[in-house]
Amino acid sequence: MPGNMVTSEFLVNVDHERCRRCKRCILNCGFGVFDFQNMTTADSSKCVACHRCVVFCPEEAITITRNPLAFREHPSWDVDKRKAIWKQAQTPGMILTGMGNDLPWLNVFDHLLIDACQVTNPSIDPLREPMELRTYLGRKPDSLKVERDDGKFKLDSKVANNIKLDIPIMFSGMSYGSVSLNTHRALAIAAEELGTVMNTGEGGLHKELYPYRDHIIVQCASGRFGVHSEYLNAGVAVEIKVGQGAKPGIGGHLPGEKIGKEVSSTRMIPQGTDALSPAPHHDIYSIEDLRQLIYALKEATGYKPVSVKIAAVHNVAAIASGIARAGADIIYLDGFRGGTGASPAVVRDHVGIPVEIALAVVDQQLRSEGIRNWVSIIAAGGIRSSADVVKAIALGADAVGIGTAALIAMGCRLCQKCYTGNCSWGIATQRPELTGRLDPDWGAERLINLVNSWSLEVKEVLGALGVNAVESLRGNRERLRALGLDESTMDILDVKPAGR
């Protein structure tokens, strides 16, 4: 009987005339594709198309192609479904995957168009005029009392602590454990340089990164890994992670293989044990319980802003209202396209809703209740470009979070094998020979370049819209039009069709 019925996804071809047998491909492949027996040989069945070998081959001797093997076409039994069945018939278990949803669901961002000024109101040239991207995250007061004291004006209201961002883009939570320490270093360096924040994810914060405290949001998730008083105070805010867009409603599971010495000491769990994050926080079964944890964290941190991260799910508007009323300062909405280090494919691909929709309904709900100023909204899980940033802000986001985009900037090729720990780019791995490949300064430089590029583009679009501050676009859906969306989706988004 055949041992493995799943045929190779990709074919690796080495051009032996060009190959000068330097063996760099063997060293670079984290998945063990290459071998050398008189000449370079490749085991295509192990290839994940991460392109590490291709990029590092000095002779451009390696090509990777999709296996052209023909399958008899069947509209409902596409090849991936058949392959999944072969895998599960061979080894029982849930199919595990990494990164974001890869099914071709409708992308609402790609059906939204941005307005611009023509003739009747002038656009603004961002090269000549200042454009304000600065954003403050946190609770804003319902009203401000100003006192006049001896001819001087003085603020007489107590304002809650806010986080200052120079740009409305932050780095999403990715835990140390799922990604390497060098990845965390790069994110921290870039966040400081850009005047924004990185988020620790749920794996704690390595001691070495405590100096970046003004640019870090620390996360407190159901597993409470690495959570202690000093850690909670090691950032500008604390985030309670209730859910993640890639895997709403389920917990996390970092396999023991990824828990080496440094991850162990940061998470404060023994080496080699599985790090299991329960699906719910067992001290949160209600909005009242959430309020209790929010205020416990505020008490423990001298009333720093508390963010609550939830996956975008069907009833998200009512949940967000509860979160705002529970005393959160920030609601972090993670859409169903958000990335993950490991998730069952069934959940990643079929659970949750797009962040575009969630964002629109949450913003609308909080406005209708008159409590929109109580919280800032972060939109994440599917932000791929500056256009997505602008559209998210117009739909009601205060800022956006980027995770996958940040990893792609540092070399990630979206091979979706993060859960194997073999990442050849040194990002989603703890293998020392691989993690050393990501130079934190190099990674930070690329993150800074990316985010600065997006900032330029956002400013350019704001100028075209005739506004000079990101604040003027926030929740301004009149500046969006839909192309190719159905009536009810446009109604939910509160966006008119193009031409109206």
């Binding site: 895998k87 599960q88 061979q90 080894t91 029982p92 278990g93 849930m94 199919i95 595990l96 407190c220 159901s222 597993g223 409470r224 959570v227 202690h228 008083s229 000093e230 909670l232 105070n233 599971h253 396999p255 023991g256 162990s264 404060m268 769990i269 023994p270 044990t273 599985d274 299991l276 329960p278 067992h282 001290d283 209790q292 944890l293 205020y295 416990a296 964290l297 008490e299 423990a300 941190t301 069952p344 859960y419 194997t420």
Partner: protein, 254 residues
Amino acid sequence: MAKSAQKKARSVTLDATGQYYREMNTEVRELARDGCDEIVLDGINGQRYIADGLVEKVRIVINGVPGNDLGAFMDGPTVIVNDNAQDGVGNTMNSGKIVIRGHAGDVIGYGMRGGKVFVKGNVGYRVGIHMKSYQDQVPIVVAGGRAGDFFGEYMAGGLLVLLGLGDGEGAVAGNYLGTGMHGGTIYVRGEITEHQLGSEVREFPLCADDVKMLADLLAEFASDVEVDLSGVEPDQFKKLQPFSHRPYGNLYCY
């Protein structure tokens, strides 16, 4: 000969009758930071978050029933409650000690990583969920009475001890005992039937180290919660442990 004069121990008593928790906790925090050795809180009636995130080695005596999340994220203090306590005691606590000379509510010691929580009487549901140990930090929760469902669920490390004293019939703990447990040990004195246990947990025989450890712990517990433990012997306990440290190792295919 130590020349330096011993710093005089400083004890401050606050009357918290009717006081809002935020103001009271701010006062407690400031006193602890100023190096106060003992803070006595009188008139406590449901104030939440007492000693949350405190890292000083201060002793806090609570007269009255404190509110939820007593000692959450706490890292050092000793808290004595001369009454019952509510839910969330010792939530994600890192070190220190909480002694409750009465009953306590649900979710005691959730995600706790170090220190001790001693409860003289009964505890509610979901006690000791996801407790974990790290190096020399071994969290310990001891309850003198009985416990509700989900005792030690998801437990990854540390010790849970249930004495089963007091009134009540039948099993001393509820169902789903140790469900998903993959580390640590639960010691239960009293009736437990097979169907109550999570599928990852099994009874193991007590060894000499267990008996010695339990004897020391019971003596400390008795003295702290002020209870007479004559008749309670270490060899009366059942020792429950997970038989796999990787209960979910075979969940996935790639």
